[in-house]
Symmetry: C2
Subunit: 389 residues, 2 copies
Amino acid sequence: MASVKSISVLGSTGSIGRQALDVVDSFPDRFRVVALACRSSAEEIILQARRFRPQLVAVEEEKAAKTVRETLGRDGMQVVVGSEGIAECAVLPGADIVVAAAAGVAGLAPVWEAVRAGKTVALANKEPLVVAGHLIVMEAARSGSHILPVDSEHSAIFQSLLGQRRESVARVLLTASGGAFRDLDQVALARVTPQQALAHPTWKMGPKVTVDSATLMNKGLELIEARWLFDLRPDMLDVVLHRESIVHSLVEFVDGSVIAHLARPDMRLPIQFALSYPERLPRGDPPPDLAELGGLHFERFDTQRWPCVGLARKAIETGGTAPAALNAGDEVAVEWFLQGKVTFSAIPRIIEHAVTTHEVGAGESVEELLAVDRRVRDVLEEGPARWTS
Amino acid sequence: MASVKSISVLGSTGSIGRQALDVVDSFPDRFRVVALACRSSAEEIILQARRFRPQLVAVEEEKAAKTVRETLGRDGMQVVVGSEGIAECAVLPGADIVVAAAAGVAGLAPVWEAVRAGKTVALANKEPLVVAGHLIVMEAARSGSHILPVDSEHSAIFQSLLGQRRESVARVLLTASGGAFRDLDQVALARVTPQQALAHPTWKMGPKVTVDSATLMNKGLELIEARWLFDLRPDMLDVVLHRESIVHSLVEFVDGSVIAHLARPDMRLPIQFALSYPERLPRGDPPPDLAELGGLHFERFDTQRWPCVGLARKAIETGGTAPAALNAGDEVAVEWFLQGKVTFSAIPRIIEHAVTTHEVGAGESVEELLAVDRRVRDVLEEGPARWTS
């Protein structure tokens, strides 16, 4: 009989967290939820906790935590609070897999704790590897922690590399749908609204990720993640446009072979794979029907048009604290854009400013990297005014 | 330092054999030819032997063998003759890999000997698995022989299955370019000439294989091979049309994932992979440029239009000696077509006649299977006249 895996979900009320719980729900004989954590969505985490009966519930925000504790306390569940509470879910001895699906750099500290504790981490949260990839891979090697990517692109690369030798890999191509604005010209691009940016053609995601997907910064962040997940030199990474979002990435080998992973664009698939690995569990929905689709299309990626990818590539090459500054700049810029304070085309300029004005350090500890993150935000706190021209 | 693999090439003067020698030639530090065998191409095998200096040269046909012996004897090389000579090359103790690239059912006996001797067989010759797949896989399991496919489709499947669990496989899709006549209607199809049939749009191959590729019987034979190579039930095998011949096959998994192998259509690539496996060796020509290609296209396979695939599928389901009869029927039909004795559309009718009129046996020995092969040919020897109407 197959064993039941115990899952701790960090960021359970976000888009990925909810889909992870969907997957757990589909395989009650294979997965069990032992911990749930969120930032502040009291109402939803209460519903989730009542459904999945975890042993531990963590809520970061104090007021929300109080509400949750009052309600779930009566059901006999343990509710913990603050970042210490989240960290408790990340290192819970009873958890086989920690799903890291928090949003933003806030997810770094609990992922770091989970890796230090030698956990298997199903990693959806981009920022931990973007900001602190060099530290995380070193620490994982020491602790024996396994990091399984949940992103569709990285899951595709992971699956395409199974059974292959590391030294046979020549290049990894991440596919990009091109985001919401792939067909707009530069003038129209400068004028797009947050509302337009939030309507992604294929994937349903949170607002920050959706805007990153429209600026193509998501692809830049994914290049940084891929660099650490698969130990690839920056020049071994590239991007190709692929509108259909069916081919989720490709690996090129030294002999001219290419292995590609295809699937319908549904985040539950890479989530499920990370949870079930090395097994695969049957899903109701079939694989993509290629004859029905007719064609899969590819276009060269235009680095001039999408400067964010070039900025990310430069940050990988610089290394140290550069990716942390890039990431902080992007978080601030996207927030301002969503608040209507800056235009879409100001986003890469703000990010570039953040990276070039910060003093690059070695980034030798998580604390140093988080300090860089705060410093970049502080510098940008002079406000969005200068970017509105 | 990497070790040098010793290669014995059966069918060295054919299309695959020559390309195998090209590959060996590209990596003199990795491969060494220890034996060459052909049917009757004295002149070419003499040139090959002078270039590669094998310890053993086999020529099946006596007259050609005599010429070769007279010439190479002076160079101090050992030349053996007849099917015993070929078998000697198949079991040569010094050979690490036997490349089985003979044409037709004639290749079965030496492949059987190589498998019995526990050799690693790089298998290009379709007929051994088509005719005697059930015996060969059992014998390989006993002797410890490894069979590495050389066909681009099976190499693609083999590469897509690396690192995957057998029980995760849902379905295997072989891609078919559609052959030379993919766009002809039934009337035009009935009238095509041998010359037209020999002009394949993407692959350069021998005449029999090229006609099989035009009738789609090659895909039928490949289904049978895949059934044995990868231990798949017939209902787990299917065909999809893909004109570009870039995606060489796809494996669908139970979770809705698909792994595909892509490469430029160049036989040297799967040949090289079979020789270098589990390593990959660098080739000068790069992987396909998807952005330059623009698109990869897929169409549903029309089983009505291409009856040969259905005949092959039925033969797998019947099992025993049925695939041997199918194969013999195809060899005779293609020969008659190339001689201008029957029309293109008579080919599947001749094959069907061969299969349905033969008495299905269990096929418990290679001898029994070869007897079926001869019996079908004898029955058809009544001549092509009845198929010309």
